[in-house]
Symmetry: C2
Subunit: 242 residues, 2 copies
DNA sequence: CGTAAAATTGATCTGTCTCAACGTGGGTGG
DNA sequence: CCACCCACGTTGAGACAGATCAATTTTACG
């Protein structure tokens, strides 16, 4: 498959098996894509909620700003990820979404979503995808709430590794993660300085290196253990997991 | 209406308008209720996900435990709240749910959920309810990640006040909140000791008193300002908010 | 090359935790 | 009906993870 929808369909295909017709519908609906540059806001908190985005390439995130300028990143959107299609039921979105690395996106307006919801498998795959993202958010809350800086970073890297593996964006135990240390800080509720120190600790322990946007996990089992990472929450929705 | 489903229907009615038939379906489906005592686990992480609960009375919460015994509370379930009906698509649940105050619950098995999903307004109301709970979780992530202990507590109390008001469980600016300080700590990622000190600070500032499970908000505007609380995330799904 | 953003390092500060003790009120069994 | 008990709340003192402030170096890129 060479369609722009490749990663998306690959991602969804882990949640359901599609008929050729459903596959075609997914390709059609994501035909018109758009490129976005770093820093672009795809939606801002308070905007009307009348579409959802599919990230086909690059990296985006959902975030909220506090009045004092501090930012909490609420979710990463990797290639293949999409917003919750149910979200169009809302009048306004409650958090913003911006581009962290040059991105190709497809926009699904209400009509496209309704069309896709007709197909049982597509509808179920999108729902499972949304459920997984909710499970990730729950885990992030635990992460930020109850884990040390070291565990937080380790846990996040384990999670990202598994998510990128699901869409074929890892090689061995390495992957590209185009985030600055400040952005990692906004994700994990740590200062950029402390992210830096924790990253060095991970490096000295020969668990992970993170340089030039490249993450290399040198000892995955040890990292998983050190971070208390249990991948169950990422797998509970896959079609084979019953 | 005197049905046990009263709070639930009242909660959902803020998200959609029901036909008499839909109303009846909601009452029927929640007919068989069960009482649960404090400490009961309604589901445990890893259990098969084949039903959702509706809380009709009392207080329950979703939580995750870390291996070292620390607990993060992920959500409160007040009277009228329910689990996300889509959750039955998952093979297993990823977090536990327990009773914090004597509770009356209705259990919706797959068949009931499917029946309710037939009714457009019911289906949409349940979806909006689930969306609101997701918005709450995002806000909690911001809370735990980026706010001070003082703001966290204030923010939580503002939120709870609004949520209870939506189901008619407040009087003036007071409401019952049967949580221990330790449970508040597990929610806000603070130690019970520090919750206590922060509560005293709120009391000394004449903003809030919390004693014998009774919360009295003495100065709501000031509390809202001090906590940086913006209720938009709770209202974006209501039927009148377009 | 030059420049700005990002990473790195050191020194100091602080919010919150931990530990430990003590008070208190409501429920229970004798 | 009283006495005990246990969970919960309250208070104090000291410790520490991570924040903040302030340079300095490295990297990316026009």
């Amino acid at each position: 498959m060479s369609s722009a929808a490749y990663r998306w369909i690959r991602r969804l295909a882990r949640f359901a098996t599609f008929t050729p017709e459903e596959q075609r519908a997914l390709e059609e609906v994501s035909a018109g894509t758009r490129r976005c540059a770093v820093g672009d806001d795809l939606v801002k908190a308070g905007d009307p909620s009348d579409r959802v985005f599919v990230i086909l390439e690059g990296l985006a995130c959902r975030y909220k700003l506090l009045p004092d300028g501090r930012r909490q990143i609420l979710a990463y959107l990797f290639p293949g990820d999409m917003g919750d299609p149910r979200q169009v039921l809302q009048s306004r979105v409650d958090c913003s979404m911006c581009v962290l690395w040059p991105t190709e996106i497809a926009t699904l307006a209400l009509a496209s979503i309704q069309r896709l919801e007709q197909y049982t498998n597509v509808s179920s795959a999108m729902a499972r995808c949304a459920l997984m993202q909710q499970a990730i958010m729950r885990e992030w809350l635990v992460n930020v709430g109850h884990r040390t800086a070291f565990e937080r970073l380790g846990h996040l890297l384990c999670e990202v590794f598994m998510r990128l593996e699901a869409v074929g964006l890892t090689r061995e135990h390495a992957f590209e993660l185009p985030l600055t240390q400040a952005e990692l800080g906004d994700t994990l509720a740590l200062s950029a300085v402390h992210v830096n120190r924790t990253l060095m600790e991970l490096r000295h322990l020969k668990l992970v290196t993170f340089q030039n946007r490249q993450v290399v996990i040198h000892d995955y089992p040890a990292l998983q253990a050190a971070a208390g990472f249990d991948p169950a929450y990422l797998l509970n929705n896959e079609k084979l997991s019953r």
